[in-house]
């Protein structure tokens, strides 16, 4: 049974995370790469269903692998404009493609309170990310559904 059984998922744009960071701190360097900590100091979330600020105090634990890719895990909190606190756990991968363009895709997971943002708990999300500059990353978040 090696054939494809299901069509590709549908991806629906939901919101954008705009994350402000400070320069990375080097944690350790080995032959396999360098582990880094990148402080997350603020930012905003914009979308039809959510408007929020990114709270300082989170961070991105990143591994700069000697094979050329970065594997990143960011944990931080959002506070919505109606006072809900949402935890973000976003794991992803970055590399430079052969044509020089960046590949930067993440798999965010959210913990939201019951009520208006409960859909964030049970959705399956993909983040399409761009590093605007060394201090700012923007991630368009899509929800995935299958047929």
């Amino acid at each position: 049974m090696s054939a494809q059984r299901w069509p590709a998922p549908a991806a629906d744009y939901r919101f954008t995370l705009k994350v402000d960071v400070e320069p990375a701190v080097v944690v350790d360097t080995t032959s396999r790469g360098t582990s880094l900590f990148i402080p997350i100091v603020g930012g905003t979330v914009t979308g039809e269903e959510i408007t929020a600020e990114i709270l300082p105090g989170g961070g991105d634990w990143a591994n700069d692998l000697s094979s050329g890719e970065f594997v990143v895990r960011a944990k931080y909190h959002l506070r919505t404009d109606d006072g809900a606190m949402i935890a973000v756990d976003n794991v992803g991968v970055w590399h430079e493609r052969a044509d020089g363009t960046p590949y930067f895709v993440t798999t965010p997971r959210f913990d939201a309170p019951a009520g208006r943002y409960d859909w964030m708990n049970r959705g399956v999300f993909v983040g399409m990310a761009i590093e605007r500059n060394p201090r700012h990353i923007e991630i368009d978040v899509y929800s995935l559904t299958g047929e």
Partner: protein, 137 residues
């Protein structure tokens, strides 16, 4: 919007054999349980087999939907042993509806596998989960 929307390219078909869930009580997130992963196969553009020892550490939410958080070793032909990290959700444990997850592959340093993120679409019957793997481009 800033970056391009995701596109998906089919890569492989996976069958996962799972055991009975072990109840772990509950914590602040909801009911917790662990489902042992017993084995399985990978076919298509990737080929290989799922090794025993992995598990899906699930959270059951108040409405019965299940948050999936699985890690399981896979031996891929031409690559060797890797770790599949799967996160997702499905409506309930009993549902046979199609559901999606995301997949990251650890341990494939230096190969194309570890440089990308993947989405899966699949469904569950008792004792088995099947899904298609799509590279997110």
């Amino acid at each position: 919007m800033t970056a391009a929307p995701p596109a998906f390219e089919w890569l492989a078909h996976v069958r996962v054999d799972v055991g009975e869930p072990q109840d772990l009580g509950s914590d602040i997130s909801g009911g917790r349980r662990v489902v042992p992963i017993l084995g399985g196969t990978v076919t298509g553009g990737w080929t290989g087999r799922i090794l025993a020892g992995g598990a899906d550490w699930q959270t059951v939410l108040e409405d019965g939907s299940v948050r999936i958080d699985a890690r399981y070793p896979v031996h891929l032909d031409g690559v060797g042993p890797v770790l599949f990290r799967v996160r997702g959700a499905r409506p309930s444990n009993a549902a046979t509806d199609t559901f999606c997850t995301t997949l990251l592959v650890d341990g494939a340093v230096g190969t194309a596998l570890g440089r990308a993120a993947y989405a899966t679409v699949g469904s569950k019957v008792p004792g088995r989960i099947e899904y298609d793997v799509f590279e997110i481009r």
